[in-house]
């Protein structure tokens, strides 16, 4: 005469799975940026405007530089050199890294120069490059290229070394040529490393561009920085600095976006949350 109790108790309404309520990543980032700007604004005002500046003063200087067209013109000059040097670095760096990683001979013959050149104090060489190429566009693109190409080569090279031997053997077992194995197996397997190298190269390329413009000092964002600094206009000096930081951040997320487009399996494999 006992009451039959169900084997599986029904789930009470208040214990039903709830939607996870997490703060989205973009909101955290926004909050973090806003609080840094606010803090800077509050404390920056107490500092002598020659020794420092603060966001609203920089914004005013920004607006002035936009209005007189100086900023846009300088940005275009800088970006042209950056894009050419950076694109060239990718076009040269990725294939070079791939062949160095695949060839024992090239690795031994060229690898040492790549590793050495990565640590090259390029700043010291800029005056020499200026002697060779003048003060114009060519020298800027060249400096960007030289700073950006080595992290791309080295990362690609390391990536190739990390490709599992068995994946290469899959190609061999189907009688694929060395070139086909490189293009159809090694290259896609190396994409995460290549992308990491390309991201590193964004930062180095931007720094290289400004360094080149410091030496030439007649065009681009670097010229605005150095001219403003020479006339103790600190707020104006900060404008290109901030613009470059924003630019590099945007470029980085753009590369990340491309990575998710060309290598979606990688995001899935590592379980990264890109939200």
């Amino acid at each position: 005469m006992s009451k039959v109790t169900p084997m599986v108790p029904s789930i009470p309404a208040d214990e039903a799975p709830k939607l996870k309520r997490e703060i989205p990543k973009w909101a955290i980032t926004t909050l973090s940026v806003v609080s840094v700007i606010l803090t800077w604004e509050i404390f920056g005002r107490d500092i002598n405007p020659i020794f420092g500046s603060y966001p609203s003063a920089i914004a005013a200087a920004f607006w002035m530089l936009v209005k007189n067209g100086q900023l846009v013109a300088a940005l275009m000059q800088s970006m042209k050199a950056f894009v050419v040097g950076y694109a060239l670095a990718i076009l040269v760096g990725v294939p070079l890294g791939l062949v160095i990683g695949r060839s024992r001979f090239l690795e031994a013959a060229i690898g040492i120069f790549i590793t050495g050149a990565y640590a090259m104090p390029l700043v010291a060489l800029v005056p020499l490059l200026v002697l060779w190429m003048g003060l114009g566009f060519a020298v800027k693109a060249c400096v960007v290229f030289l700073m950006a190409v080595f992290p791309i080569v080295i990362n690609t090279w390391l990536g190739v070394r990390a490709v599992p031997k068995t994946l290469v053997e899959v190609g061999k077992s189907f009688v694929a040529s060395d070139f086909t194995i490189l293009r159809r197996i090694v290259l896609p397997a190396t994409i995460p490393y290549i992308m990491a190298g390309i991201k590193l190269a964004v930062g180095r390329g931007v720094v290289a561009m400004v360094i080149a413009e410091f030496f030439t000092a007649i065009s681009g964002l670097g010229a605005i920085i150095i001219n403003a600094a020479n006339s103790f206009d600190t707020a104006r000096m900060f404008v290109p600095v901030i613009v470059l930081m924003v630019l590099a951040t945007l470029l980085n997320s753009f590369v990340g976006f491309i990575e998710r487009k060309v290598a979606p399996w990688q995001v899935e494999l590592s379980g990264r949350d890109e939200g």
Partner: protein, 264 residues
């Protein structure tokens, strides 16, 4: 050499020596010592032995991924010199290309062989159907279970229509149940396609269930060759396990593996 049949495999007096550098000293390791065996067309031969016995080395030499230091290896009467489309290799961990879908992975081998266009897609689809993965064609490897991955690996190797299928412990990493299912399916596929199969394993039951002949290896030598007289088609592998014949053969292999019985 007399007229050789398609799918016939022979290893004659094959030795393989590796050089290893241990603490700056070069050591010679003999992986295979004068190994001889022949495999007939449509025969299933399993190579069994403890790790390091040379069974995988023998398979890799047959595939052409390694070359023999000494001796002669032929497949279908032709001397093996590198990889070829007369042999298909199923890897230990499937080794699918992670950026390709199941269908694209099967197509990879076919493309290498020179197949293009609609024939390519249809052939890949047909072989995915053969291994029971018609509906998973567009999934990528990370969306497949271990058993499904290995099915794709088998389809990829079979699709190029090789004379001989070489399998390197393909079910070693799978759970017992999936492994049994795949063993049954492999026998079905072999009955339909009549491929010669050389199957490396370290699993006693698997060696007996699949093989027409078992080659037991120890320390780079063939210890014993055991004929399996279980009927073909094998049908219900589960029922087979209970048979006296299975138990007797299994025991013979066990004794050979443990060196209990003198080699005759």
């Amino acid at each position: 050499m007399s007229e050789a049949q398609i799918g016939q495999v022979s290893m004659t007096d094959v030795s393989k020596t590796f050089t290893l550098k241990v603490d700056g000293q070069v050591q010679l390791v003999q992986a295979l010592k004068s190994v001889n065996f022949d495999v007939k067309q449509a025969e299933i031969v399993t190579l069994i032995g403890p790790s390091g016995c040379g069974k995988t080395t023998a398979l890799r030499i047959l595939m052409g991924l390694e070359s023999a230091s000494h001796g002669r290896v032929t497949v279908g009467g032709k001397q093996v010199n590198g990889c070829g489309y007369d042999r298909g290799l199923v890897f230990q961990h499937a080794e699918l290309l992670p950026w390709l879908t199941a269908a694209q992975n099967v197509m990879f081998g076919l493309e290498m062989k020179g197949m293009r266009g609609s024939e390519l897609k249809e052939t890949a689809q047909r072989y995915l159907e053969l291994v029971g993965l018609k509906d998973a064609a567009n999934r990528r490897p990370y969306q497949l279970s271990g058993g499904m991955k290995q099915r794709v690996g088998i389809a990829r190797a079979l699709a190029i229509d090789p004379e001989v299928l070489l399998m390197d412990e393909p079910f070693g990493a799978l759970d017992a149940q999936t492994r049994e299912t795949l063993q049954g399916e492999l026998l079905d596929i072999q009955a339909r396609t009549k491929k010669t199969i050389i199957f490396v394993t370290h699993d006693l039951d698997e060696a007996v269930l699949l093989a027409d002949r078992i080659i037991v290896m120890r320390e780079g030598c063939i210890q014993e060759t055991i004929n399996v007289t279980l009927p073909r088609p094998r049908g219900d592998l589960g029922a087979l396990r209970g048979s006296a014949e299975f138990a007797a053969t299994r025991y013979r292999v066990w004794k050979a593996l443990h060196g209990v019985e003198a080699v005759h």
